[in-house]
């Protein structure tokens, strides 16, 4: 069994071979650029700062269509550009970038398998030079909200047998032992536990020791054995929606499930909402 959409995943070697390809823009998506991109990055890669560039600075929301167009224009991207994303923190934020860029319907967005960690592990070139791009005027499509779940949809899905929830957080978060690490006080919740009926499949179950994705057969067994099957609509969630973007990518592109959505409100919304049902073993 092959990946359903192998074209969305590129190897580190593919990236090395396309570093100077004018049709390819490599973007490093970092949660904390000062501990990643600013210390060194792939030659020619632009920086996408997850906090500043992909999130609205006032509302809790992903970037708007206008902000996306500005970002793409700043990165010298056209609708025909092949975007290759990689990043820090095990590629979670690159996966979140992939999800948001697909919401705004950029046609060709790919993820570098193994991310920054694998690139460095292989001893490949890292530079500090920041590239400059000729700005473009980018026009995005309307948002594809079929990729994103909001709380009302999540609550209505609780009553449906054709919807499955996958909780990709750690076992301690799933059981409610913790809601967030102490250093992430702003990601804590009033209540611990999980969405009723959710299957616990931590995000890292999908990768190998070198951070590259497991085979399609292994992934199909991993999710299928826990009831996350393609005949259902699947809602993935974690704490703020970045680890679940990684799982969203697996289910949608590597396994080709027809309906997979990311609930980026995740536990920071659900666990702080009054009156919603919670399961806690």
């Amino acid at each position: 069994m092959d990946y359903a959409h192998p074209e969305v995943l590129v190897s580190t070697q593919w990236v090395a071979d396309h570093q100077d390809d004018p049709g390819v823009r490599i973007l490093e998506v970092d949660y904390e650029p000062e501990s990643a991109y600013e210390l060194g990055h792939i030659r020619g890669a632009g920086l996408v700062d997850w906090k500043k560039d992909i999130n609205d600075q006032l509302r809790r929301d992903i970037l708007s269509k206008a902000q996306f167009e500005e970002l793409m224009g700043r990165m010298g991207v056209t609708p025909d550009t092949t975007l290759v994303l990689y990043g820090d923190m095990r590629n979670w934020f690159a996966a979140f970038g992939h999800w948001t860029f697909k919401i705004y319907r950029h046609a060709d967005v790919r993820l570098m398998d193994g991310g920054r960690r694998k690139w460095i592990e292989e001893g490949r070139e890292m530079v500090e030079d920041v590239p400059s791009f000729s700005p473009t005027t980018y026009t995005a499509g309307g948002a594809d909200l079929g990729l994103r779940a909001f709380l009302p949809q999540v609550l209505s899905a609780l009553e449906r047998s054709d919807v499955a929830f996958v909780d990709v957080r750690s076992p301690a978060e799933f059981t409610g032992e913790i809601t967030a690490p102490p250093e992430y006080a702003n990601e804590a919740a009033q209540r611990g536990g999980h969405i009723p009926g959710a299957a616990s499949i931590p995000w890292a179950s999908a990768i190998k020791d070198d951070d590259t994705f497991k085979s399609a057969d292994e992934l199909a067994a991993l999710y299928g054995d826990k009831g996350i099957t393609p005949d259902k609509s699947v809602i993935a969630y974690c704490r703020i929606g970045e680890r679940s973007s990684h799982t969203w990518f697996v289910l949608k592109y590597l396994l080709g499930y027809p309906v997979v959505v990311n609930y980026d409100g995740s536990w920071t919304e659900f666990g702080n909402t009054v009156g919603v049902p919670i399961e806690k073993p």
Partner: protein, 84 residues
């Protein structure tokens, strides 16, 4: 690699397994607890962590007193500076 001045050891190997602090955040926090001249021994089996430690030490002017890799484990000795 002399280790007579090692004041603390920090193993970054399991950092970033879950959504918590980055390796650099852990490194900076630990380094702040050291007095000038004291040495932090940083270990990890992850090459990305070793890259971060070396680059951060160089950028912030902290001397690296030792850097060795045995098997997959890299051990780097970083000295705290007066303005640390």
């Amino acid at each position: 690699m002399a280790d007579s001045k090692v004041a603390r050891t920090l193993d970054l190997t399991s950092s970033e397994e879950e959504c918590g602090d980055t390796a650099l955040a852990l490194l900076r926090r630990t380094m702040k607890e050291l007095a000038p001249g004291e040495v932090l021994e940083v270990q990890s089996t992850v090459a990305e962590h070793a890259f971060v430690v070396r680059a951060w030490a160089r950028k912030t002017g902290r001397p690296i007193l030792g850097d060795r890799t045995e098997g997959k484990m890299t051990t780097i000795l970083v000295e705290q500076t007066p303005d640390g």
